[in-house]
């Protein structure tokens, strides 16, 4: 029984543990290309980040992390705060 449970945990748990995050942050104050560049460059300096995209129209910053890595909400808010913007919400998907 233990072996059976362990197998299930490995099969279903491992992909989640090593998968990448797609994080969508809704941000106030983004209005121009200079804003977008600042945010992109700020996140690209983070070793956990694979890609970042800024959507001015929908006020969204989409961050894709590397496999098995993530950025917690507090770090995202701190990075965006340091770039000069306010985070309204953070949503995640694996």
């Amino acid at each position: 029984m233990k072996k059976y449970l362990l197998t299930i945990i490995v099969i279903f748990g491992l992909p989640a543990a090593v998968s990448a995050d797609t994080i969508k942050a809704t941000v106030n104050g983004m209005v121009c290309g200079f804003c977008a560049t600042g945010i992109e460059k700020t996140f690209k300096t983070q070793t956990e980040v694979r890609a970042v995209n800024v959507d001015l129209e929908n006020k969204l910053v989409t961050i894709q992390t590397k496999q098995g890595q993530t950025l917690d909400d507090s770090k995202i808010k701190k990075l965006l705060g340091n770039a000069g913007y306010s985070v309204v919400a953070v949503a995640r998907q694996k």
């Binding site: 209005v31 121009c32 200079f34 560049t37 460059k41 129209e57 770039a83 000069g84 309204v88």
Partner: protein, 211 residues
Amino acid sequence: MKTTTFLTLLLTTFGTALVSKAKPLSYVGGTMVMQENDETGHTISSDYTFTPTNAFGLYIKQEENGKEIFMLTPEFNTLLKRWNLPDGQGNIFNMTGAGLAHYRGNNQPCLWTAFLADYESRRWFFSYEPRFVWDGNIEKSVWQRTRIGIAPYLANYNDLNTWIMFQVDHHPAKRDHFVATPLIRFFYKTYLFEVGYGSNQHIMVNWTIQF
């Protein structure tokens, strides 16, 4: 060739306009180079943002339309207040420089400070900037500049942004006390370019690059 003449030529060659700063700060670690050539003279400045609210740089200006004063100062820019709104952003900045002014063989210490208040959405732009300049015993002056703008279409980050703007300057120390300048601004990613034509028949050309 006099140093000031050389620098004036250099400034003129690199563009035509005073720094109609998009904003006097970028992101931490970011550098901006700006040039402005307008009825007040030729300006070039560069600054490096080292904290979320502070930037340090160099400001060089050759004044025209009055006393042809040459100014060279380090510059310190501070974000005093920012409002991040759902559809826009408002800011109050202070920019201050202290250095050297040169006029007809006379070198004087100089000091200038300016406050820039702006509001920008993807559709609307408004700014107001009072500037106080002290050039030792050469000149003391106060300027005001205000600008409104509208984007005829809403562009995203990777699109060419276009703005139609109108600027009014009030500088009693200059020959033309009031100058109104309609202008057009193009903005693509981190490149900003503006061209306008003032009521005193001066062409204005500004550019900013952020990297």
